[in-house]
Amino acid sequence: MYNFTFHRPTTVRQAAGLLGRNPEAKLLAGGHSLIPVMKQRLAQPSALIDLSKVEGMVGVELKGRSVTIGAMTRHADVANSTVLKEVMPGLAMVPGSIGDPQVRNRGTIGGSIANNDPNADYPAACLGLGATIITNKRRIVADDFFTGMFSTTLEDGEIIVKISFPIAKKAAYEKFKHPASGFALVGVFASKRGSDIRVAVTGAGSNGVFRVKSFEEALKKRFSPKSLEGLSIPATGMNADIHASPEYRAHLVGVLARRAVAKAVG
């Protein structure tokens, strides 16, 4: 690890100010993506701006027809939130499937979606529910937020403060774990909120999380796994690595989508 300076602001304004003054600085949330790359000397931030003491960034709140989750809320706290488990258990499944207890007790939702690891779970939930990402500057809909592997529309100096999820009556996540890392080799989030039907896929696409419009169309007729029978997506554009071929990933998207829908209606 290279040397860096360390800041611990208490308000979003202060944090943004520090970011503005230190262009080589990085925000530190749970540190479970950032610290490993620093230890491997692959990242060399001049400063870390720790968000753990910033007010108003933690908690799961029910607000009318949506649930708002503070960016610094740990995976374990989202997974165990009684509010969330009551209004939308399908979303609580997502952080519950992340890593191991150590990871779930440190990692945060804000860090996960800012990082946009192509195998991360939360991006599928954000896109699969049509969430809104609220930063210190603006509100960004999920469909615009994720722009490719490890890339988002976040600008320099922009801090995710919270994420707002509309409550879908039917929602579920199905994850096929990467055998070594435990991330999603493929993960599918499916939801139905009135006529808004979404099927979002993580882990599979070489461009990060994406929606499967053909599946969504089919589900509009009837939100049932039967509607997806015989449907598949092409292998082109799927990730290829030693753990899964593009064909296998494409195949899993179909299998997991059917299982997610079954779970959502189940």
Binding site: I242, S245, Y248, V255
Partner: protein
């Protein structure tokens, strides 16, 4: 059986310190003025070093020195060696390349050490290491062992043509060919035994300290065999004479073979500590461990089995290419030869066997012994052949095995080994019952209703342990004898220290060896302590690997205890004023036969030292005896494992739903520890079969260089095992022990793959059988109809 004697499931003495964080591992040892070594490693698999510039690095803060291969050569430090000579078919000796501890002009695998920075701290060392400028001329690399010998393949060592180390063979080619010609059925299989990364929990570490006053060097090291390390480092590498080097292997957190070998890092730390006149410590990080620990397995094999119309085996033949990596590690040459082909008879009566093995260099990490070492590869060949044959000949796989089991002992196989005891029918029978094979059909139909394919796979393995009779291994090329030593010291208070040449790194010797002494001398288990792992304390010994510590190491203790008892009886005769011949020793008490006169163990021990009852001219004071025990044969643990799996048709994911392990380990000292060894072994074998596999890119980068890509088995990958024992005692050592450390890893891979291929109806499946691999196999094949 006493509560702490042989056969008792005594809790492990050593676990208190291990589970409370009070162990002392090499990295925990801190010496005054200690410096840290940081290695500059090659990012290329194959390259010429045009130049190395260390000037900028030397100026970095906290840097004490920066050393390269040129400095090593100037100081005339010798090469690392492989200590087992193998001769090719044509009689020529194996071709061992130079292996300097720091690269000399050329690098041959990613991670090859090029330079070392000695710094005040690791952080400063790493900063400086980035400033070492190495100018490489990158060469084409050869990674695939099957392509290493091809015409035009990149040459790794200029003096070794075709990257071929040896072309060895064993068995009778003519008789085997004749048997194949007469066969009714021939089974053919192509097998890749996948390369594994050992991943001991504690990474390797070395701490070297030079004492200028006495011109003595001390090395703390994560070694499974500190005396062998001392011998090689002094006599072959030439760091310093043997008597001026002390090697201490304190608590060691797992080895699985990978810590048998002598590596560049400990040589460099020793050499550097003398140069900088300060202690030098290196502790591998996990990334370095992936790149530089000797890997395991990596065979490419074509195997065939010939049978008559009744399913009687006539012959077996195999041709294997073994990848030994960029350099020959310490015992690498023996693994794919005498530890492999000698077990190709399995549990079966096979009249003729012929095996050819080509060992090759590639631009990958060195490959050497890893849990089982050669024997898992052999068991996989034999047990896959058996299962596939049964399917092809439509014979029940258990029945095919029964028709061919060896039933009379001793049994001379055509491949050197002479099995001395065993009962293969017994272990198979017990396994069939415990696994409820009768009920399998019903379970399979039930699974099919839930979209799951169920399969059953057998593995009736045998291995050779208790390594090894010195004369035998000497005749096969070993550079060392494989006896073991023990010294038993009885203190004046009657407590006992046992100094063993074995080394524990997870096996629980402090418990099992104390059980033996407690049983034999009738003294409390807590009054015995086991000393190991320090060449200044313990007499020369050969260390721990090859499931040898029970069969060989404990036999040495038994012999030393025999001598102790004989001497103690002499002392007792004086104490009890009786004739020596009338003294009986039982349950820790000496009695005079036919009388009620007795002396307690403690009395006799004290009298041996105060020497008030006898004169030195008649009897030497003291009670301490040493023994060197050389076994008369290998031991042959064997057994039958049955694995039952369910494969998810949709995803290809395999779940192991049932595991039965019936093993014959001879005498069992501590059933709890033995069961633990079986569990760990199966976990590693399942890891190989389902999850693990070291993958290099064509360019020679290790793709599976971290836990994010290399899949280690986890608890949730495994079922609760059903384990049991059948027992035939080994006639080759006084306790009848066979050894249990490797059995699980040897048995498991074939059981898993036999089960999955049974489930999916195709043999076209390589290890690791990941979900993707199984799904692809299902796509390629027309699956047999689900029953």
């Amino acid at each position: 059986m006493s509560a702490t004697g042989i056969g008792a499931a005594v809790r492990r003495k050593e676990d208190f310190r291990f589970v409370t964080g009070k162990g002392q591992y090499t990295d925990d040892v801190v010496r005054p003025g200690e410096t840290r070594a940081v290695f500059v490693r090659s990012p290329h698999a194959h390259a010429k070093i045009k130049s190395i510039d260390v000037s900028a690095a030397k100026k970095m803060p906290g840097v004490i020195d920066v050393l390269t291969g040129a400095d090593l050569a100037t100081d005339k430090i010798g090469n690392l060696i492989c200590g087992w000579m193998i001769h090719s078919k044509d009689g020529t000796p194996m071709k061992m390349s130079a292996h300097p501890a720091l690269a000399a002009g050329k690098v041959n695998c990613v991670g090859d050490a090029v330079a070392v920075v000695i710094a005040e701290s690791i952080a400063q060392g790493k900063e400086a290491a980035e400033k070492v400028k190495v100018d490489y001329d990158v060469l084409q690399a050869v990674i695939d062992p099957a392509k290493a010998q091809a015409k035009g393949a990149p040459q790794i060592h200029a003096d070794i043509p075709n990257n071929t180390i040896y072309q060895w063979h064993l068995g009778d080619p003519k008789a085997t060919a004749a048997a194949f010609a007469a066969a009714k059925h021939v089974t053919k299989l192509d097998i890749v035994n996948n390369r594994l990364v050992p991943n001991a929990m504690e990474p390797r570490a070395a701490l070297a300290e030079y004492d200028e006053g006495s011109d003595h060097l001390t090395l703390w090291s994560t070694s499974q065999n500190p005396h062998v390390a001392r011998l090689v480092i002094s006599a072959f590498v030439g760091i310093t004479p043997e008597h001026k080097l002390r090697v201490i292997a304190p608590d060691v957190g797992g080895g699985f073979g990978s810590k048998i070998f002598i590596y560049p890092e400990e040589v460099v730390c020793l050499w550097a500590s003398r140069k900088v006149k300060r202690p030098v410590k290196w502790t591998s990080d996990r990334s370095e461990a992936f790149l530089t620990d000797a890997h395991g397995r990596d065979h490419v094999t074509h195997a065939e089995l010939a049978l008559d119309a009744d399913g009687k085996i006539l012959a077996l033949r195999a041709k294997t290419i073994a990848n030994l990596g960029a350099y020959m590690s310490t015992f690498s040459s023996s693994v794919p030869t005498y530890l492999y082909a000698t077990l190709l008879s399995g549990q079966y009566n096979i009249p003729s066997i012929y095996c050819e093995v080509d060992a090759v260099y590639t631009n990958t990490a060195p490959v050497d012994a890893y849990r089982g070492a050669g024997r898992p590869e052999a068991a996989f060949v034999v047990e896959r052949l058996m299962e596939v044959t049964a399917r092809q000949m439509a014979i029940d796989p258990a029945d095919l095995r029964k028709r061919n089991f060896i039933t009379a002992f001793p049994h001379q196989t055509p491949v050197i080994m002479a099995y001395d005891a065993g009962d293969f029918h017994a272990s198979l029978k017990k396994a069939l019952e415990l696994a409820d094979v009768k009920g399998f059909g019903k379970r399979k139909r039930e699974a099919a209703r839930h979209g799951k394919l169920r399969g059953l796979g057998y593995s009736a393995y045998i291995e050779a342990c208790g390594i090894a009779p010195s004369q035998a291994v000497g005749s096969l090329g070993a550079g060392v004898g494989l006896w073991e030593s023990a010294e038993v010291r009885v203190n004046p208070t009657g407590s006992v220290e046992v100094l063993t040449g074995c080394h524990a790194h997870g096996q629980g010797h402090e418990t099992t060896f104390a059980q033996l002494v407690s049983e034999r001398l009738g003294i409390p288990f807590d009054n015995v302590s086991i000393v190991h792992g320090d060449t200044d304390k313990v007499q020369f010994g050969m260390g721990t690997y090859g499931s040898r510590s029970g069969a060989v190491g404990m036999s040495a203790i038994v012999k030393a205890l025999d001598k102790i008892e004989a001497k103690a009886k002499k002392v007792a005769a004086y104490v009890l004023e009786a004739a020596e011949g009338d003294i009986e020793f039982k349950d820790g008490k000496f009695t005079v036969a036919g009388t009620d006169k007795s002396a307690a163990w403690g009395d006799v021990a004290l009298n041996a030292y105060i020497a008030h009852k006898f004169v030195g001219a008649d009897l030497e004071p003291g009670l301490k005896e040493t023994s060197f025990y050389d076994p008369t044969n290998f031991t042959f643990p064997a057994g039958c494992h049955i694995c039952e799996v369910e494969v998810d048709i949709d995803t290809g994911k395999t779940d192991i739903v049932n595991w039965t392990a019936i093993d014959d380990f001879g005498t069992v000292i501590n059933p709890m520890i033995v069961e633990g060894q079986v569990h760990g072994g199966i976990a590693q074998g399942v890891g190989q079969a389902l999850l693990e596999g070291a993958v290099y890119s064509k360019e020679g980068q290790l793709v599976t260089g971290s836990m994010m890509d290399y899949t280690m088995p986890r608890a949730h990958d495994l079922p609760s095992f059903h384990v049991g024992l059948t027992t035939t005692k080994s006639p080759s050592n006084p306790l009848g022990i066979k050894g249990c450390g490797e059995a699980g890893a040897i048995a498991a891979p074939a059981a898993v793959i036999n089960a999955i291929t049974d489930a999916i109806g195709t043999e076209d499946l390589a290890m690791p059988a990941t979900a993707n691999a199984v799904w692809s196999a299902l796509q390629r094949a027309k699956p047999r109809q689900v029953a």
